[in-house]
């Protein structure tokens, strides 16, 4: 009898230990070569730590097949929930099907996708309205700073394979179309979402249209690259405008310098990461039901507009979030 009780107690203790094992979350990120993604990465780490969860990462370099491979590897590593930023809508479908088959929770970190009862919908930036805010700033600046006799020539740098960037450019263009009372020309070029790409694209645009005086980059990297091309072409700060999107520290620095880079539409990756990780952990530990989050649907978070008035405040806030090495 005593032996039986002893064995029974050991089993109970072992079972309770296994129940107490830390929840494990796998995160599929598109890259770690970008400040937004680095802050997002840190956000996941910090929130997981705060909630007592383990987190492992896989980086896909925006490749659809690597997205599928990444999810497979994370699940093989024991992840009970996957937070996934897909390389494209099709790889999202593939990962969704895989997680359903394996009984693993899945949360969308990439871009808005069709909602369903089997996953937590996208939490992220209101990209279209952010683009509109960039357009609003551009229109106000043009009306205030460019004499009526000055031709308005607008360039915007795009990244057609990335849904969020497409939405930003569309928002910007649509706002101008609806609200610019002055005549203007508008041109676009693929900026590859990078400084190198933005620089090359803008150099080419300036060759064709040397009087470009307004630039919107679908992200800060391409905007900063484009700005380098404008400066190299001898464009004066007072007569030109550059607007970025993301909220990179370099963007805030440029605003504080008081040059032609005057506005940045900031995303809030640390906030999204916290929200997604919290949901993932609560689902794994049974503290929340999937149906609750499914009912919430897609959550799009507004984009603060960063200008000279508040750039220092945002710079300090984001500088603290960058990982300390």
């Amino acid at each position: 009898m005593k032996k039986f009780l002893a064995v029974f107690l050991v089993l109970i203790v072992a079972a309770s230990f296994s129940l107490m094992a830390a929840p494990k979350v796998g995160v599929v990120q598109i890259t770690l070569e970008h400040e937004y993604q680095i802050i997002l990465h840190q956000g996941y780490i910090d929130k997981a730590k705060a909630m007592g969860a383990e987190v492992t990462f896989a980086i896909t370099e925006m490749s659809p097949e690597k997205t599928v491979t990444a999810a497979e590897n994370l699940i093989a590593g024991g992840a009970q929930a996957i937070i996934c930023a897909p390389g494209d809508p099709a790889s999202w479908e593939a990962v969704l099907a895989m997680c359903k088959e394996k009984g693993v929770y899945i949360l969308n970190d990439g871009s808005p996708q069709p909602e369903g009862p089997d996953h937590v919908a996208f939490i992220g930036t209101k990209s279209y309205s952010g683009g509109q805010k960039a357009g609003e700033f551009a229109v106000k600046w043009i009306n205030k700073s460019l004499p009526k006799s000055t031709k308005v020539v607008v360039a915007h740098l795009t990244l057609p394979t990335f849904t969020d960037c497409v939405q930003r450019n569309k928002g910007f263009e649509d706002y101008l179309k609806a609200n610019m009372k002055r005549p203007y020309e508008i041109y676009s070029e693929q900026g590859m979402g990078s400084r190198q790409g933005g620089l090359t694209a803008m150099e080419n645009l300036l060759q064709a249209h040397p009087d470009i005086n307004v630039l919107f980059g679908c992200n800060d990297d391409s905007a900063l690259g484009g700005m380098s091309a404008m400066m190299a072409a001898g464009k004066k700060d007072a007569e030109n405008l550059v607007i970025g999107f993301d909220g990179a520290l370099k963007g805030f620095e440029e605003i504080m310098k008081g040059g032609m880079f005057r506005c940045d539409i900031a995303q809030q990756p640390y906030l999204y990461a916290g929200m997604l990780m919290e949901r993932a952990v609560k689902l794994i530990t049974g503290k929340a039901k999937l149906a609750t989050y499914v009912k919430e649907g897609t959550i799009l978070i507004d984009t603060p507009v960063v200008t000279a008035a508040n750039a220092k405040e945002w710079y300090d806030k984001y500088a603290k979030l960058m990982p300390k090495k």
């Binding site: 492992t56 491979t69 497979e72 093989a76 790889s91 057609p160």
Partner: protein, 326 residues
């Protein structure tokens, strides 16, 4: 000791002294050691049958493409455009299925189409005496551009449950992509090792002038290996499309690096003349195991990149050492 006793020992010594076999053995041992390390470090997660089959499925596409590129590299050439061809195959296939072509016929047509494209590429390289590095670098851009413009930058969805099994289905416990890769490997190994064509491939890579002088139509051999590679890449593109539920115009970016790394790690010389399908298989598993194992262990991404680069670097060093021993 009499002559009859000496003969088997001499044969064994020859076998052991063969640098190619030794390199293959070396890489195989390295793969086993890596696997054991990952198993221990991951507390057994790496070596579960489910995970090993997952790795096998992941590398199956690399193996299928790698078989074709191994043929090319043994002749002393290279193909840097395979990643773009993967994307182009997927778009071609997806559009064919959308037009109502039965999926199995669409797969065959995709293989034929890519084979035809590579016939052109191979002919340009062989007849115009152009460097395959430059020609295939150009094709990398051209093929990607065609895929992107054809698809409008977006994936082309495939809504055919039967076709999806190619990428995600099982035959018993074995993923179907693994079976496809295994069949391609067996056929590729047979052609390379047991046919006259295979001997000619080695001859062209070993010494093209000597091969030509001995009556081998070296241009035809070079064109043929590109055609073989095209057909296999077309097949791999179909498997990829099955995995992704779509033809994706951005699929396969950087894939050529994994393929070439697998082939070189497996012992195929960058200068041509040596190589084997088994080596490519082992190399592909090495690359796949590293990706899988490092992710399971939660190693930081930046260190993962370093690890992969170091492995490729070591493989090239071993390649050079092997040549110097020969």
């Amino acid at each position: 000791m009499n002559i009859q006793d000496a003969a088997p020992k001499t044969a064994r010594r020859r076998w052991i002294a063969n640098p190619q076999i030794m390199q293959l053995l070396g890489v195989f041992v390295a793969l086993i050691v890596l696997g054991v390390f990952f198993s221990i470090a991951s507390k057994g997660r790496f070596s579960t049958p489910n995970n090993l089959l997952t790795v096998a499925r992941q590398v199956s596409i690399t193996v299928i493409v790698g078989i074709g590129v191994t043929f090319i590299m043994i002749t002393g050439n290279i193909d840097l455009a395979v990643g773009s061809y993967i994307a182009l195959s997927g778009i071609f296939l997806a559009n064919a299925i959308l037009l109502g072509v039965p999926w199995w016929l669409a797969v065959l047509l995709t293989m034929v189409a890519l084979g035809a494209l590579q016939l052109l590429v191979g002919a340009v390289i062989a007849k115009q005496r152009l460097t395959s590095l430059i020609v295939t670098l150009a094709m990398l851009s051209i093929a990607r551009g065609i895929a992107l413009s054809w698809a409008g930058g977006k994936p082309v969805y495939i809504e055919n449950a039967d076709f999806m099994k190619i990428g995600n289905g099982y035959w018993g416990p074995i993923p179907i992509p693994v079976i496809i890769a295994a069949c391609a490997l067996v056929i590729g190994q047979f052609v390379l090792r047991k046919t006259r064509f295979g001997r000619y491939v080695y001859a062209v890579g070993g010494n093209e002038e000597a091969a030509r002088s001995s009556g081998i139509n070296t241009d035809r051999i070079k064109i043929s290996v590109f055609v073989i590679s095209g057909c296999l890449t077309g097949l791999a593109g179909c498997v990829m499309a099955g995995r992704l539920f779509s033809g994706s115009p951005v699929a396969g970016q950087g894939f050529e690096l994994d393929v070439v790394a697998s082939i070189v790690i497996g012992g195929t010389s960058l200068n041509g003349g040596t190589g084997s399908m088994i080596g490519t298989l082992i190399g592909a598993f090495m690359v796949g195991a590293i990706n899988n194992g490092l992710t399971i262990l939660g190693v930081e991404y930046y260190y993962q990149l370093m690890a992969k680069g170091l492995i490729i670097f070591l493989a090239i060093l071993i390649d050079r050492w092997t040549k110097s021993v020969k």
